[in-house]
Each structure stands twice: as C-alpha cells, then as structure tokens.
C-alpha cells in the first residue's frame, strides 16, 4: 500500500451536491478513484456523477463500504460533518473546507484521534497517489506515477513544484497537502513516519511556510528518524511579522515562525534547502540521479 490511499480506497463525498463536491467527484473518478457514495442531508436518493447520494453518513457507509471521506461542507457545519464521518467508522477524512474556526478543529482533532481516525486538512487539497487514488482536489494533470513523496502546507505552490518534477521526467509516490491552517489534523511530523515506512517513496519534498513550528518539529523528526533524502522549500522569507499571509496559519507572531529559523532547522537536520520554488525540481532530479547510480 502507498501512503494512506491505494486501490482499496473507497471514497465518500460529504457535501457532494454542491458545486465543489460535484466537480471534484468527477475529477476523482477521472483520476481512477473509487468514489462510492455521497452525502447531502435531504438529497438522499439522488445521484451525482453516477454516485448514489444518501441523507446521512452511516447509511452511506453501510450501503457502500466507504473507508475514506472528503468533506466539502461549509465551515459552520464542517465540525458536525467530521464527527458524523468518524462516528460512522470512517478512519481517513480529508477536510477541503477552509475558514473552519481553529477552536472547532481542536475538538475535531482530539475527537478523531480518540476514535483512531486521521484528518488531513482542513483548508487542504488532500491526498493523491498517481494511478491509485485521490481523495481531495489536487489537480489530475500535474501528476505522474513515480518515487518522490510530497508533503506540503500549500496548494498551488505544490502543484507548480510537482509539475516541475514531472517536467524533469520524474513522478510522485504520494502527495499530501496538509493544509494552511494553524491547527491541522496531520502535520509534517505525523506524515514523515508514513513516508519513511513507504516502500514506494525514495525521497521526499517538503513545502513549508512561515508561521508556527511545524517545520522545526519536522526538522527534529528528520534528524532523529528519517533516513530518506529530503528537499525542503519554505515560502514567506520576505513576509513581515504580524501579517497573515493568505493562510490562517502563515503568520509570524511574537518573533516566532520565521522562514529563517525553519530553514536553519531543516538545513541542520540534513535536508537540502531550496531558495526558489524552481530549484526544488532541479534538486530532486539530481538526488534521483544519484540514487539511480547506486
């Protein structure tokens, strides 16, 4: 199995009848994903892109044996949607929704954890493992099967970097967009051991941002336990303190969370650090060549 998803992943779409739900149900199916059910309360009995819609998650799971969920439900109702998914036995939930209050995420995170469920996101593009499955909204076009793992706090920047990797003739094992919020269900530190264990990943690209200490925590984990090569990029070197740079989590507050400390920590942990996004594919290609020569 690749990281978190594979051919056995059976996806439920919560909020399937909305615009995003519908568009990405189609995109996930085009990617080759088994999208087995959707939920929109009050719309049970209809279908979206050939996928049966249910009124509640438990019925959907019983009918479809879904084992992963992608949530497009608006922020005020996202907490309830997540709890419903967890209560129905779903153990992998991708929260695409943005603007979820972090106080809600605190509850969601600890509730999911207590039930053994994993959250990816919120405010994230989700997971994709080319030629296997995609849970979320990562664009299909930039992907190609390969042996580069990708974990990132951003969306578009990652697509650009992944696209660059493809243009260098390489591909991805699994790509996870962890989300740009201050409280995320899965952080770099949580994702690293999965890629360390993944036999389909040879090297890892890590795309971070200013704000918080997720990259510093990851550096510590890399130093201590991660044995594969890492190429890291941190966005926001030029960001001023106290300003929220698009992502709720991307803010330098009280002198903490600067790109400089993150870059220093990652370099110290032995990661290759790129100064520009376009350097990432170049570094990846170089490492891949070396690995091949071995």
């Amino acid at each position: 199995m690749s990281v978190l998803v594979d051919h056995d992943t059976r996806v439920l779409v919560q909020g399937i009848t909305g615009h995003q739900g519908t568009v990405h149900t189609r995109a996930m199916k085009e990617f080759g994903t088994q999208v087995v059910a959707g939920v929109t309360p009050g719309k049970g009995g209809s279908t979206v892109e050939g996928v049966p819609v249910h009124d509640d998650v438990l019925s959907a799971v019983r009918a479809s044996r879904a084992n992963a969920s992608v949530i497009f439900v608006p922020a005020p109702f996202a907490k309830d949607a997540l709890i419903e998914a967890v209560d129905a036995g779903i153990r992998l939930c991708v929260l695409v929704t943005e603007h979820i209050p972090f106080h809600d995420m605190l509850v969601m995170y600890h509730y999911a954890r207590s039930k053994g469920a994993r959250i990816i996101g919120p405010n994230c593009p989700g997971i994709a493992s080319p030629e296997k499955a995609k849970v979320g909204i990562i664009p299909n076009v930039v992907f190609r099967r390969g042996r580069v793992g990708v974990i990132s706090r951003s969306g578009t920047l990652t697509y650009e970097i992944v696209n660059g990797i493809k243009e260098h003739g390489l591909g991805q094992s699994t790509c996870i967009g962890l989300g740009g919020d201050p409280v995320v269900g899965t952080s770099f530190v949580d994702a690293l051991p999965m890629f360390e264990a993944d036999k389909e990943t040879d090297l890892l690209v890590m795309v971070g941002e200013i704000g918080g200490t997720a990259e510093e925590d990851a550096a510590e984990e890399i130093r201590a336990r991660f044995t594969k090569p890492v190429v890291a990029y941190i966005a926001g070197r030029s960001a001023p303190p106290g300003k929220r740079m698009g992502h709720a989590g991307a803010i330098i507050s009280r002198g903490k969370g600067t790109a400089a400390t993150k870059l220093a920590a990652l370099e110290h942990a032995g990661a290759k650090v790129a100064r520009f996004p376009y350097e990432v594919p170049e570094m990846v290609a170089e490492i891949a060549r070396k690995l091949e020569r071995r």
Binding site: A75, P76, H99, I100, P101, F102, H103, D104, M105, L106, V107, H110, P125, I137, I138, P139, V141, V142, S152, R153, S154, G155, T156, L157, T158, Y159, E160, N163, G180, P182, V183, V189, V207, E209, I210, G212, T213, A214, D217, Y233, A235, G236, R237, S238, A239, P240, K243, R244, M245, G246, H247, A248, G249, A250, R254, G255, R275, F276, P277, Y278
Partner: protein, 377 residues
C-alpha cells in the same frame, strides 16, 4: 484576526467575571476632564492611549493625573500622538491601583499539541518575550474536560500565590479559559495582572478574536482593528490582501505561491507592496474585483503569477482583461504576467490579445517586473 482595544478587552473581562480597575473610555480632553470631575473615575487616575501598537509606556501614551486639570492635560497630550502610524483617537481613564506585584497570565494556542495553552509568569509588566524561559510556566489545557483545578493550583504555585490569592487565581484562570473558548479567541493575555492585597486585577487586556468564527460572533464584525482601509475592503470581499511597504503588487493564486512570488521578487531587488492571493477561484468577477482593489493600492508595477491547477488559466486571464478595461487610465500600471498550467495556452492568448505578455520563466518574469517598477520610479 480582530485585535480588541484594551477597553473592549476589559469589557469582555468584566463579562466573564475578571476584575479590572474602574474605568471609562473617552474621545476628547473635555470628556476626560468632565469624567474625572463628576467622579466617574476616581483620582489619582491613569490616562491610556487606546491603540493596538505595543510599547505605549515608552512613547508617553500612558500618563497619570491627580486632578481633573491634569487629566485634561494628559488627555490632550496623548490625543496628539501617533503611535506606529496610528493616530490616537480613544483614551481609557482608570483609577490608579496600588499593587504589590505584577504577574503575567495568558491563554493561547499550542499548534503542535493542538491544544490551548495556559502561560503564567511571576514577571509581569514586561513583554513576555523578554522573560527568561525558566520563569515562565506553560500548561496545556485539554478542551475535554477543560481547565483542570490542579493546573490552577500549579499555576498559583509557579506565581508564588497561596491562600485567598490562589483561590482568586483559580477563578480568574477558569474565566480566562472560558473567554478564550467561548469567544473564539486566538489570544487572551493579562499583562500585568496586578496583585492587590489578596486579590487579582487585570491592569491590561490583550484579546485577539479569530476571524473564521465570525459566523457565530457577529458582535465583532463592526469592530475596527489594525487593518488598512484597503485590507478592510478586501476582507469584506473575501480576498486575501495584505499591504506591505514596497511598490510592486503581486497577484497570485494560493497563499504559498503568492508568498513564494514575493520572495522571488525580493531576491531580485524588488520591493513587494501588495500580497493578493486569488485563492482557488477562477470566477472572472472575483478576479476583476481583486484587480480593481490592486489598482487602488497604486502599485508601480504588478506581477501576476498564476499556476492553473484547479483554477483555469483562461478564465483568470478573461477576468483580468475585463478588469483592465475598467481601470481609469490614470490608475493603470505596468503588468508582467506568468501563467502556467491548466489551459495555459488559451490564457496566454487572451492576455496577448490585450497587450500583456506572459513570461513562462519565474526568474525572468520577476526580473522584468522589478525593472518595470524601477523605470516608473
């Protein structure tokens, strides 16, 4: 992120049962004098500028008064100040408190643990960042079951409080956490927290409310904070827009890509002046709105950097061209574009028809826009 002025923070404190000095907010020296004369604030009193800038003490923005005349004079002096670029418009007048110690308490978010964290220190009255780590106690709070009594006892011990003062602290910390939780705060800080006899009193209030919870906190919608007027408009239109010091505007899609674009510009000698993240949208109307907002910021040059993943390059380009036609010629600016990804060719064609060239290489395009900005200056 809504930063509350001190007096608003203290109003919240009182609502949650946290003691504060008796005080009133005024907006003129007349008002200040009248307030003191009528006994609305006891003498001696403190007159404090109500701005969100830090370091008020040093800038003369906090003064003491023992007579109504002195209160008037202090108010006049402070109302003439500009702190961190913000003119002082409001003053808080409060009775002076005779405290025996200044402590520090706050509740914030511990992102790594995904838990609220209670921070206490016996060294109050100074910025917490300057306090040595061993003089700060940190305790994580599990929202289920909430702030534990034993954590309050630990906090009291770390602050050197016992007896009635320790009991008072427990009540205060529980109120503080309740406020943090129920008001969807990012930060609730009392610095200094004064010890008066065996009672604790909040001498300052720093409360930051989370934006994303505004759907359940309409009461904060009207509160002005430290956003610029353009940032305020952007917020209403739900566009991620940040004004910076420089002169080059950046429009990109996705927060990470926008930040990276800024970084690249800076690396090539440019000074970013606007961060504008289109997000996942390719709604031409939203693109137009964003472009017009950018125009209002009067950049010397604008760099458009779009990677079409979920977004389609052609619809972004369409919105942009439409917007360009609406901007009055006096407000026009040179535009350098870089459009890659989904429907790239169509997007480039649309831009070219409108006289905008797309430079595919990020390095080259960044250099081009820096050159444009330099030319105009």
């Amino acid at each position: 992120m809504v930063k509350l002025a001190e007096w608003r923070g203290k109003e919240l404190f009182r609502k949650y049962g946290i003691a504060t000095p008796k005080g009133t907010v005024v907006r003129s020296a007349d008002e200040a004098e009248r307030l003191v004369r009528s006994g609305g604030v006891p003498l001696p009193c403190v007159v404090k500028a109500q701005v969100l800038a830090g370091g008020r003490g040093k800038g003369g923005a906090v003064r003491f008064a023992t007579t109504p005349e002195e209160a008037r004079a202090a108010a006049e002096a402070i109302l003439s100040l500009t702190l961190d670029g913000q003119p002082v418009r409001e003053l808080l007048l409060e009775g002076k408190v005779n405290l025996s110690r200044e402590l520090y308490v706050s509740v914030a978010l511990d992102r790594t643990a995904r838990l609220p964290i209670l921070i206490t220190s016996g060294q109050g009255g100074v910025e917490i960042e300057t306090v040595p780590d061993e003089q700060i106690a940190r305790q994580r709070i599990d929202p289920f079951p909430g702030l534990a009594l034993y954590a309050c006892r630990n906090a009291a011990r770390s602050l050197g409080l016992s007896g009635a003062a320790a009991g008072d602290l427990t009540g205060l910390l529980r109120a503080l956490y309740r406020l943090f939780d129920q008001e969807d705060a990012e930060l609730v800080e009392i610095n200094p927290l004064g010890l008066v006899g065996e009672h604790l009193i909040a001498l300052d209030a720093k409360v930051i409310i989370e934006d994303d919870a505004s759907f359940r906190h309409r009461e904060y919608a009207e509160i002005r904070d430290d956003r610029t007027p353009l940032e305020e408009i952007a917020r209403e239109k739900e566009i991620a827009f940040v004004q910076l010091e420089g002169n080059i505007g950046v429009i990109a899609n996705g927060a990470g890509l926008t930040m990276a674009t800024l970084d690249v510009l800076k690396e090539f000698g440019g000074e970013p002046g606007v961060f504008l993240d289109l997000g996942g949208t390719d709604d031409p109307k939203k693109v137009t709105e964003a472009f017009l907002l950018m125009a209002q910021a009067r950049p010397k040059a604008v760099f458009l950097n779009i990677f079409g993943g979920v977004t389609r390059c052609d619809t972004v380009a369409k919105g942009l061209v439409e917007a360009m036609q609406t901007v009055p010629s006096s407000e026009r600016f040179p535009l350098v574009a870089r459009i890659r990804g989904n429907n790239e060719a169509e997007g480039i064609a649309i831009l070219r028809a409108a006289g905008v060239t797309s430079v595919p290489d990020l390095r080259a395009s960044a250099q081009a826009v820096v050159a444009e900005a330099g030319r105009v200056a």
